[in-house]
């Protein structure tokens, strides 16, 4: 299962507009895509779930995808998030 860990760099955390873009991009893939912060996780195709994570600046998030287009999904979604995150580690 491809996985990618990112650190939220935007001072506002992951706010509504980028979160909505992210959900729209994720919805184009068939794979199940999950975004995880600490011990909580959200379906990347649901804005409610994503906003419900209340992702703060500087927090570490992990994206993972399971399905036929999992790799493509992660590369598209990390590009989508790139203005707001830095690669972890």
């Amino acid at each position: 299962m491809p996985e990618l860990t990112l650190v939220v760099a935007d001072p506002a955390g992951l706010h509504a507009r980028p979160a909505a873009r992210f959900v729209q991009a994720a919805s184009k893939f068939e794979s199940r895509i999950v975004i995880r912060q600490g011990d909580r996780e959200a379906d990347a195709k649901s804005l409610i779930a994503l906003l419900g994570l209340t992702i703060r600046p500087s927090s570490e998030i992990t994206l993972s995808a399971v399905g036929p287009d999992a790799d493509a999904a992660l590369s598209t979604l990390s590009a989508e998030l790139s203005p707001y995150v830095s690669q972890a580690g």
Binding site: A20, V23, Q24, S27, I48, G52, T54, R56
Partner: protein, 134 residues
């Protein structure tokens, strides 16, 4: 899939339509009805009916309606009675909080979801956590 937003204040729904467009994109049809016909705070069944028709006539297959408070529900009921039954069947009324519900509904609509899914997304706004949890 379109949305109709109803408020006692025209400014509220105009601003909300701007927010929806910015968050969800411009592909989601949004009709608004705010204030009375003479520009006061309140709701107007004819204005609501006009907003519903504008979205339905634009060829949207369904409409989710969100409203703010109290008598907006009564005006909406009157407006719905004014529609042809075939149009009324394409309208789903949501009890979700207006602002949060509209944003969540619009994003769901923008990914091509059904009216029922869009209404469910709006309904989740009532219990969505907003403050960060550590």
């Amino acid at each position: 899939m379109g949305l109709v937003l109803i408020s006692h204040s025209g400014s509220v729904v105009e601003g909300l339509r701007d927010m929806v467009g910015q968050v969800a994109g411009d592909d989601v049809a949004v009709g608004i009805a705010g204030g009375t016909e003479d520009g006061r705070l309140g709701t107007s069944a004819p204005r609501i009916a006009a907003a519903l028709r504008s979205v339905l006539d634009a060829g949207e297959d369904g409409v989710v309606v969100l409203f703010d408070l109290g008598s907006a529900a009564l005006s909406l009921e009157l407006a719905l009675e004014d529609l042809e039954p075939v149009d009324r069947d394409r309208v789903l009324v949501s009890e979700a909080p207006l602002v949060e519900g509209a944003i969540l509904a619009a994003v769901q609509a923008s990914v091509g979801a059904s009216t029922v899914d869009v209404e469910a997304a709006a309904a989740a706004a009532a219990t969505m956590p907003k403050l960060p949890r550590d």
